[in-house]
Symmetry: C2
Subunit: 294 residues, 2 copies
């Protein structure tokens, strides 16, 4: 699918070379070496790493140099840095360039980009490629293989630009879904942000119990709780930003999840065996319907 | 470590040949083929499977036949079946036999066994070997390798019997910890039962959202939420029993977990960046302190 990219974009600028940015670079190199690929990261040590790893044609010494002349600009910075980064690039992004991003929450980022880059060809996006790792060395050309990339155009977005970004992501191996920013934020709150919040708070609660009782708890964990601790071990700063940038949907979903947990708890308290079994069986079926392995 | 078992027990009866019972059989066969191993399961198809798999010397056609003459009786039935099973065996268990169990909750099971088998040499136990699979075919000789087995003796338990059961579990590869039944139940509620309840209720909540909005949610899940669906896919009937048999500790821990989740939610609502980061960082450190891989 490389030719689809080559036809559309000649010079691509990646701003931010963390896990996602560097994986895009690697995947592009693998799918179409004909595109000229420039990149910038705000951390000088990351720029040096990226040069050593040789994942792009040119690591520039300023963000302006990276986007100058690019017909595709991909913002791969933390969601809460989007505003400052877009601001700093507002004059150097070419007027015909398509601007996309990879932010984990879309309502806030889309409105920020729309406000700071009025008239720009913006196609907000989010590759849903969960990983607890971070940094350019964690990047991989296969990160998006078979994963979803959700695009969230609004009424100002040109459908041709959406299609161009969709085929760009398909060329990296991703499946593309289009929905509104609001839908995206609700879906992600439900399947990612609130589960992460629950895992982190559960791990913190057990650590507090351990301290209170002066005896080990965590040491005995097996199976499920190991997954919770692994989820909680993700980059705290990245997740703080995700939580804060998707506040409304998270609060809404927290309340739904809490109601469901309290319902199960009530069934346990009431010893309502039949209903409890039925609820657990329904949750079990969800996984079987997903038809996944491992 | 086979000789330690051989010295202590000559005839061992396993009642219940699910994942745990059949794994004990396999592990014993691997560690000490000298012990005579008898077993019974209440389901005739499981008895047939066990005969085909050839994991014990003798699969009996009654529970009484299995325990008759055994100097160690291991009850591997679901926690809420312990009462009926102990009742049915109360006359055939030899008066010098040590009786142990593998139930996931200990206060209830211990008091049931103590009441139904007064004067018996009871050493309640729980091998913490998390697995979502079940049935004799899922059993493995390595299931307990490096895992904890928690023993919960009370004031009536003979310390020599505790040591005999501890060395039995060590011979199967397990690490042994001794604590009160109440401590055990609180620890397990925190590191297993309530996390499982949260995973199941979260999966159910997302399924409800999907139905309400008439659009896919689960399909986009990656990373963390896949773990939740896998946890929720465990045997519903087994987990219903675990929940009901450890009600008090579960309700107590649910309330602690809820407070912690609400605290994080409040920090998000208040946009208290510094404290939120600090809390997430602390939960992250828990995993790093556990010093585990993957």
């Amino acid at each position: 699918m490389g030719p689809a990219v080559a036809k559309q974009f000649r010079t691509v600028a990646i701003i931010g070379l963390g896990l996602i940015g560097s994986s895009i670079a690697r995947a592009m190199g693998a799918s179409d070496p004909g595109v000229h690929l420039k990149a910038y990261d705000f951390a000088s040590e990351v720029r040096q790493q990226a040069r050593r790893l040789n994942v792009v044609h040119q690591v520039t010494e300023s963000a302006d140099d990276a986007v100058s002349g690019a017909d595709l600009v991909i913002l791969c910075v933390p969601v809460r840095a989007m505003e400052a980064v877009a601001q700093s690039l507002s004059r150097s992004i070419g007027k015909d360039a398509i601007v996309t991003d990879v932010g984990s929450s879309k309502s806030l980022v889309s409105s920020v980009l729309r406000r700071i880059l009025p008239g720009a060809r913006i196609v907000p996006g989010h590759p849903v490629a969960g990983s607890e790792r971070s940094g350019p060395e964690a990047g991989s050309a296969e990160l998006f293989e078979g994963r979803w990339c959700i695009l969230t155009p609004d009424q100002h977005t040109d459908p041709d630009d959406v299609e161009a970004i969709a085929s760009f992501w398909r060329s990296l191996g991703a499946k593309v879904e289009i929905m509104s920013a609001q839908q995206h934020d609700l879906v992600l709150a439900a399947i990612s942000h609130v589960p992460h919040l629950l895992a982190s708070s559960s791990v913190a609660a057990v650590a507090a119990l351990e301290e209170k009782h002066g005896q080990p708890f965590l040491e005995f964990s097996a199976g499920g709780f190991h997954d919770f601790t692994r989820i909680a071990a993700a980059n705290a700063s990245v997740w703080k930003d995700i939580f804060l940038s998707n506040k409304e949907a998270i609060v809404q979903v927290c309340s739904l999840f809490r109601n469901m947990a309290e319902r199960l708890e009530q069934l346990i308290t009431d010893e309502d065996e039949a209903t409890l079994l039925q609820e657990l069986e329904q949750a079990r079926q969800v996984r079987l319907n997903l038809n996944v392995n491992s």
